[in-house]
Symmetry: C3
Subunit: 301 residues, 3 copies
């Protein structure tokens, strides 16, 4: 039997995607989860507590058995490939692996080589994809009643390196979103052919926000930026690209603010906006559990 996999947003059919989003919303409103008896493993080679805990919460609520593997500290990887590690876990009874890894494209590579009966969820690969984040963002907006086909969504920040942005753009396109606008420093704009072609770039956030229904702020990854840009000035970044109450007023009055977390208050957005009535940041966290439950249900059933 071939296990189902979620490697990027282009993999599953639109039908499966819509089922996941609708099921996540239903679960968040109290639908009974389908009891599961499978065993999954969280295999994280990059530090991530937020995503790991969210997958663990989702799994335990379904009654799944969960093995947590801290790949960075794992002896399993001494002189052993990620492929051998996952094959070993599968031989031990793990039926689906949730993988985060710093190497862009690793889930696509593994998907060809793994035992066909092992399920795989890409929980973020380098600068590649992060499909479950995109699905939970869509579920969050759907739960709030946003009609994507009529909406303008602005994504602002380091689009060049963001797997969150890439997966969100892919999903919003498939869901037929009205308009996607990109904003951020010139040096951090996406390379041609990297999944963002044909979208409008704004060279300032104020202009991008006009008529926006949703604005997704991307995390400033300080460590990376410091290196590649000879020291990004965070105060300067906030001045030009940070979302403040004043700036948010340029968008539609009911414009929603999203952020994948963890956020840098005072950098990509002000504390006032983060905690304000238009912020969906904690809603995203809440929906992350329900969406991952829906994903497990879809892949394991």
């Amino acid at each position: 039997m071939k296990a189902m996999r979620l490697i990027d947003i282009d993999g599953p059919s639109l039908d499966v995607i819509e089922t996941i989003v609708e099921r996540a919303v239903a679960l968040s409103k109290g639908s009974e989860p389908l009891a599961q008896t499978h065993t999954i493993a969280n295999v994280f080679f990059e530090p991530s507590t937020r995503t790991r805990v969210s997958f663990e919460m989702a799994a335990t609520r379904l009654g799944l058995r969960v093995i947590n593997l801290d790949g960075e500290r794992s002896s399993m990887t001494k002189g052993e490939s990620v492929l051998d590690t996952l094959a070993t876990l599968h031989a031990m009874g793990v039926e689906l692996a949730v993988l985060r890894h710093g190497h862009t494209g690793i889930c696509h590579e593994l998907s060809e080589q793994l035992p066909p009966s092992l399920g795989l969820i890409n929980a973020g690969d380098g600068c590649g994809h992060h499909p479950t984040q995109a699905l939970l963002d869509a579920a969050t907006l759907t739960a709030k009643g946003v009609r994507l086909s009529e909406a303008k969504v602005v994504i602002c920040g380091d689009l060049r390196h963001s797997r969150v942005a890439r997966s969100n753009v892919a999903l919003l396109k498939r869901l037929g979103v009205g308009e996607i606008g990109l904003a951020g420093p010139e040096a951090l704009m996406p390379a041609p052919g990297s999944g963002f072609d044909g979208l409008r770039h704004y060279d300032n956030l104020d202009a991008a926000l006009i008529d926006a229904d949703v604005v997704m702020m991307l995390r400033v990854q300080k460590e990376r930026m410091d290196e590649s840009d000879g020291g990004l000035d965070l105060a300067d970044y906030h001045l030009h690209w940070g979302l403040t109450t004043e700036r948010l007023a340029k968008a539609k009055p009911e414009c929603w603010v999203m952020h994948p977390g963890p956020m840098n208050r005072g950098v990509e957005l002000s504390a006032q906006v983060a905690d304000g009535p238009q912020s969906l940041i904690l809603d995203q966290v809440r929906m992350s559990v329900f969406t991952r439950m829906a994903i497990f249900e879809a892949l394991l059933s």
Copy 2:
């Protein structure tokens, strides 16, 4: 709904305190735990296996779901405050957080800012409070039939930095203990106004032990002492403040010996005393699980 919190010993009513102590004793004698379906998180920013495992054992015996978060290694905290971390966990479904943190007073600060529906247990904050340790010590003595109102309790060691001592003194006072005596090196005596006022200080352990029913030995925190004292001599410490069989003979014949662990054999007490018939050290460990079960029951019901 406002969740219950246990931040320090002065928070809960005497009624709640007595219920916890009595319930812990009952559980240790075989009472059936109340089944729980809540989710809790152990969030530890200071290394602690003993306390963390004890909370985990207590939670799993009640049927609670437990998320373990190693705060020191958590990416959740990169550029993110403890407040945001806990709010995020709460949004994921965590109903009560057990927090250990090196910053004195952090639980009091957080208690004002956290979502009211998130429960919080202080599992030790810097040099502040450690209320669950005090409660388990009281439950241990109660299970042994010690009548606190008639007892003399001696606390010996680094009282200045000890959250264990501060919480024990607060609890013993509320429970109407007969007498509390303090002993330890002059430099490690508590500052005025820090919760120890009005108690008798002894400048040597032999004098303090006369007529004692209970002696609580505090852990020598080598790392801290080495710094602040230009190298504390451990052999010298043991000579003056270590509990030996000879010294223990000055107390009442049935005087109980306690230590919060992990102990340094040969420093704060001799191996003979630690393993002797008057030692309650393993009883404290055993009661730690039952007491934390009783605390969970009280806070989550």
Copy 3:
């Protein structure tokens, strides 16, 4: 009540050993596990994910409660002996500890000192013993229908430092194996009196493989070898002692290939052999869970 322990292969009766091996095979074929309500702890002072996860999988399939303790990062061990750590866990309700530690002989030492009611499984001690690995290897061969009494088994590699080899030799002898052959570099041959006496040493693998039914390749522990041998040349090792398809052809046509993992492809064996039809490497991983379930059942019942 005295808890049962598995410290080395010489401890249990042949009856218990045979029960474990047969039960592991039965479990692997679908026998219902005996439900357990005990609490165990995995206490690992050496990095090991493979063995730790395997014990955790085995325990959770039986319904056991599992506490994972990373000994290297545990504050429980600051100024505290392994003995005190295990006694503390026992006082908290842990009924059986699975211990891995770098110190050779520690499980034998602890076995004398621990509370008699605490069970103990040696999950690898320094260069000493690794009895559960030997049992799972025997179960793997049994499940494949190998008749050990008529088999020639070759063990190849660093026999001097290998707890895997020592426990396998002890078990194969007790099970009345036909012949055991040893092969490996002169400098890594076992010392006299270390459990390998009376076995035939081959000074090249090709000669050892003639008529072999099973060949167990040992892991090259790069870190150790580099130090003790002034830099072992891995390519040179592979040339002389690596198992390749050509070399394997010297053995019986149906000769099985085993490796305890994690393997260094291209060092102790070629990728072609590791993934070939004679390889039992993933079978060993699979049987590791069933064997450890059988061991828990035997020790906890």
